[in-house]
Assembly symmetry: C2
Homo-oligomer: 434 residues x 2
């Protein structure tokens, strides 16, 4: 990989998401050689991806070039690389662009969509974990309406205008809300010759409440907001299959639809090479101790979504979200420095700052550790927090400008099909990975 | 295509570029049924495409949803359609989504890159006529530097850092200038472990001056600006081939390069079905009379780049640029209305408002009909004119914000590889058309 040898210990970080970037920032100019590897040359801000999918934001606004983050860091190297395997014996990573020795290795590869082994679903449903996937969803939504105009078959038209979202977590809820707002304010104007009232948004949740990682209050409010917006919320329904035409469930309920968006599960984005007993099978996460050290390895760490640190309060590990990832990244930086300086490491404790979700215009729910609230003020808090979490002044400004514009004009202008999905699918060169 | 019959005459417009959109706007609510067909669901602002290719702007900022333009137009229909053929006998167009009868047909399909039959060049060089193509170029530029980091072969590294631009028209000149600015301000910071001084930008022009449709003064100034920025300008050199590794020319001059961007020619984007004598062979344009009527047809018109209206002042037709396209579109709208109302049509005359090109920061050339100028003031005029030509308030605001930011920070933040080009090429599913 053409990384020069130097006298400092080498820390290799795989993944430039929230965890990896937080770690890298804290390791700046610390007499360590740091090498950051990522499949993409940008960091992307996942919490706003649903707005890219629904035409509210442009992809560049929620992404940031990694090289720009680490500009002017000394002894710091970024490489655009797809890591294939870790050779823990030889202490090296093996990537598409070559091999690299490490002194310390940090796995921060994040998570990917979990279809729980349902191959049919994986083939026919859309996922939304990457920017290209978000653009695919945006294209598909718009292509559906273009196609609905052309058919005289009522069933086909209904199927094209029926959107089924599987999974009632924050992504599913936010996406459902955004689609409902498109239905209300944009689509009737864009498609005057279609009866947009016939558009359906079905949100399906296997459990008995949506946003089940939040408070019951938040779940109730969010559901009410969604219903007010015209979303059909189905609880205690488990989706069993989708052949590209009909969604089947564990009950008699069926949905004829051309579009299924699957946000019902995530799993760790594992890299091969770790010993089996360090892995948690179903979720594909890596077991770590309180120092984020991977079970069985002294010099290998895992942080963020991929890491499962079991504690009394979080027996199943921390929630797979930005906050724990960033906190672990920052904390591990200190521990790595302690380790290098032969000091004792300190255990990680998660400081839960709360969680939130937005449903639409003036509608959000916020859970803080001490109290919960919802509505207009929650919505402003949501916007404020997300705006200031974006990296870079320009991204903040552009997103702010877009939001003000969209708010005032009830509009979402980024509805361009720049990545035609159906056409690609037909020509069978859809690749969601890139 | 599911367009209802109505008592008004039906005008079918193929193409939503500058010409088609200008025409459509003027035909709003005029007791005509208007159907606009385009392969994309957006209008794109070609003059700023080079900034998308060089990371200065995001694609959505220079594109605008066509449905948004024509929202609330009565008896107006947009269809996302790829027109395959015109059946002039049956008076209908045949597209991928079906057939459509017309009373009046307007061909506004614009132009595409002309490789003058050089298949090898077409296969190995990049073109920049569409937004996906611009994103491909952006990706390729960045991928080249990522790859240059990895090689120890000096020739390979040089070839990856050598950019050859064929064609000294506005696109080639503006792209060369933008690349030179990346070389100066951005790449050394992003790639501290590469010697960016070794990066070369070669602009090759077959004639004896660049910007040869502008004044000699503009050509000279632009060349000086480019040379000051470190661009190598080659005049009177004709490129003869590019096998993917070496560019050959009509002299001994050769360029070893991984990147050739071809902006050396355009040709009409013809639709099949017109009688041969209406076509101009080499340029693939359509001969029209002073009313934009296609030679030999009463009810078929052509406007914009595709139309060749020969006049005393412009024996080879008008320049293939936005201005004539927009003027012809607006003028034809009036003529169509005259025709429908059995009045006599009026001939088109082109009002040349001048032309301009930007080379970089504070550097532009402007030719007005009465006088010419260059430098900082020209640059401001260029920005002002382009900003106000963009459709939509939000696009204007976002582009303005980006420009101010880029200017102050000497930056271009949109350098994300969201459409990996090389990887696609290897997997042989590059499709420039979509």
């Amino acid at each position: 990989m053409n990384i020069p040898q130097c006298s400092f210990p080498r820390v290799v970080i795989i993944g430039g998401g929230f965890a990896g970037i937080s770690l890298a920032k804290k390791l700046r100019n610390k007499k360590l050689q740091v090498v950051l590897l990522d499949k993409h040359n940008y960091h992307n801000f996942q919490p706003l991806m649903y707005q890219v999918a629904t035409g509210g934001l442009e992809p560049d606004s929620i992404a940031y070039p990694i090289r720009k983050v680490v500009q002017e860091y000394e002894d710091f190297y970024f490489r655009l690389a797809d890591v294939k395997e870790i050779d823990t014996k030889a202490k090296k990573v093996i990537a598409d662009i070559g091999e690299l020795k490490y002194d310390y290795l940090v796995i921060a590869t994040g998570s990917k969509t979990n279809f729980f082994g349902n191959k049919e679903m994986e083939r026919n449903a859309m996922a939304m974990k990457t920017i290209p996937q978000s653009l695919n969803i945006r294209s598909l939504i718009l292509e559906n309406f273009e196609q609905a105009l052309l058919t005289n078959d009522i069933n086909e038209r209904h199927s094209l205008m029926n959107f089924v979202l599987v999974g009632g977590g924050p992504t599913g809820v936010e996406l459902a809300g955004a689609l409902a707002e498109m239905k209300k304010a944009i689509l009737p104007k864009d498609y005057p010759d279609l009866d947009i009232r016939k558009m359906e948004i079905n949100l399906i949740q296997s459990g008995d409440r949506i946003l089940n990682t939040m408070s019951e209050n938040a779940s109730e409010k969010a559901e009410k907001f969604l219903i007010d917006l015209g979303v059909e919320v189905w609880k205690n329904v488990r989706v069993t299959g989708y052949d590209g035409k009909v969604v089947t469930t564990n009950s008699d309920l069926k949905f004829e639809t051309a579009t299924v968006i699957w946000t019902a599960g995530v799993q760790g984005a594992l890299v091969a090479g770790l010993d089996g007993h360090a892995l948690v099978e179903r979720a594909d996460r890596i077991k770590v101790n309180a120092y984020n050290q991977v079970e069985g390895y002294d010099t290998i760490f895992a942080i963020g979504d991929i890491a499962l640190m079991s504690s009394e309060e979080y027996p199943q590990g921390h929630p797979m979200m930005a906050q724990p990832a960033m906190q672990q990244g920052r904390h591990l930086a200190e521990n790595v420095l302690r380790l290098v300086n032969k000091k004792e490491m300190k255990p990680f404790t998660y400081n839960d700052k709360g969680s939130m979700a937005t449903i639409g215009r003036n509608k959000a729910v916020v859970d803080l550790p001490k109290f919960q609230f919802s509505g207009v003020f929650a919505w402003f808090v949501w916007m404020f927090v997300h705006l200031f979490s974006l990296i870079g002044f320009k991204n903040k400004a552009v997103v702010f400008l877009n939001w003000v514009y969209n708010y005032i004009r009830f509009d979402r202008e980024a509805r361009l099909i720049i990545r035609p999905y159906k056409k690609k699918k037909i020509e069978s060169f859809v690749s969601d990975e890139i």
